[in-house]
Symmetry: C2
Subunit: 284 residues, 2 copies
């Protein structure tokens, strides 16, 4: 496995793999790799000839009050995990390498990015789509892997790729969870033991909603009210949003039918946690 820091090195390595006729996969990450990332990397390694993992804490997707500086950067153990899983190349650029001084171009998906996480993180998705465009242009992969845990991000990236005719496929892999159901996230390590126990109730709330739907409840407003009630019982939890939206357009629904995303964001202590489930009730 090679670890490179410059754009030129990545291009050279990928061109070498291409010359041998290989297919190329990219797993874009901010490092602090966990079992969720591992599932993406393992899928890429299994199905493609040459797997690139990018590790870059992208400044343009953090708001001014967010955790950019505190974001964990355990670079050596990240590389060890990549190596263990059979990754071919780790691309770990500096911010200077990725953004020159007068960088002034943005890629923006409108509409899809105004709702859910986009409401409380106004420039977040613009940073994500811009850095992903750059990584796609640098690596030129056949496919890029994303996790369903960041459901809105995955939809935004898929829309961008389709709208801009980017020549790659997007694969979205299932959310990986702790034994108690908590979606695995780099930000879970911000939690103290009590907060960590409370955090498991996010997924339990989603599961309760799913059961209520299976039992025939169809009013989105009633289901959301019931989820909010459940979340408000978590001491010191601060709800950002609880939403039931169309699974493609992210437009809120009134009545539960078709393919839906049930998504929530809750601040627990120092960590803003997100989770979601997809519910498919068949043709609406």
């Amino acid at each position: 496995m090679h670890v490179v820091k410059t754009i030129e090195s990545v291009r050279r390595s990928v061109a070498g793999a291409r010359r041998k006729g290989g297919t190329v996969a990219l797993v874009p990450t901010m490092g602090s790799l966990h079992a969720g990332h591992a599932s993406l990397m393992a899928a890429a390694v299994r199905r493609y000839d040459y797997t690139v993992v990018s590790i870059f804490v992208n400044p343009t997707q953090f708001g001014p009050q967010e955790d950019m500086d505190d974001y964990p950067r355990p670079f050596e153990s990240d590389c060890a995990l990549c190596h263990e899983l059979g990754v071919d190349l780790v691309f770990a650029p500096t911010a200077q390498q990725m953004y020159t001084q007068e960088s002034s171009t943005w890629v923006q998906v409108v509409g899809l990015t105004d709702v859910l996480c986009g409401r409380s993180r106004p420039d977040h998705f613009r940073g994500v789509t811009t850095v992903c465009t750059k990584l796609f242009n640098i690596v030129a992969p056949d496919v890029a892997f994303f996790g369903q845990k960041d459901a809105q991000q995955a939809l935004v990236i898929k829309r961008m790729v389709r709208d801009l005719n980017m020549p790659l496929a997007i694969e979205v892999c299932p959310t990986i969870r702790e034994p108690d159901g908590l979606a695995i996230s780099s930000r879970n390590q911000y939690l103290d033991p009590e907060q960590r126990r409370e955090a498991a109730r996010l997924y339990q709330t989603l599961q309760t909603c799913q059961i209520q739907i299976a039992q025939g409840r169809r009013s989105a407003a009633a289901l959301i009210a019931s989820m909010r009630d459940e979340l408000q019982q978590i001491p010191r939890a601060k709800i950002d949003y609880v939403s039931i939206v169309d699974g493609e357009t992210l437009i809120p629904v009134e009545e539960v039918r078709g393919r839906l995303l049930i998504a929530l964001a809750v601040q627990i202590g120092p960590a803003r946690l997100i989770d979601n489930i997809l519910v498919d009730l068949g043709p609406s």
Copy 2:
């Protein structure tokens, strides 16, 4: 020469050229091809193995009050010119092919696009950068050709390619002019004979300015005032802007030095005409 209308056909044709080891050039146009386009196409054909010309009147770069519907579309003579010049492929998509119903992704270069033409055409460059990104992703060329006549467009595209790490080079070719100096443009055909004669005074004004600089005048304000005086003598001409700006950043200068763009936009009858010259006074 092939003429194709679908994205899949372009990709197939370009992939065929690539398999033979050929280099690929793209000349993006809105059709209504003239000697300016011909110079770009001839340069591409001469220096690259496979030349693609796109012909697409891009709706997203026209404002609501602009000439989108009236824009000339002489498709057969355009194709004949491409054929004559040795172009390999003409890509002439429909608007439906290029923009699906819910297309909602934009590529935007901030700063550079707020000045000069961007002031009176607020969403113009966003449309240009978005459609060029799409064309670059569809054709995947080694190089794309643009004309210096649209100086701001060329700078914006170069900035976008650099900022987003797009894997292609941008070539900017000199403005082609009529014998009386008028920069050749598809919109010149909107002019009646008298307006056409008056239009030649745009380039004469730029040349006068260049002479004054050669004579030692250095105040941008005085040079601009003198150009405005000269343009105001054209009956029925309406000045949009007359600017002296840095040749890279497009920031207005106070004193003439370094590498500068002297640019103007003037409405003459039904046509909004633009022209510019680059002046290089050496290291500033």
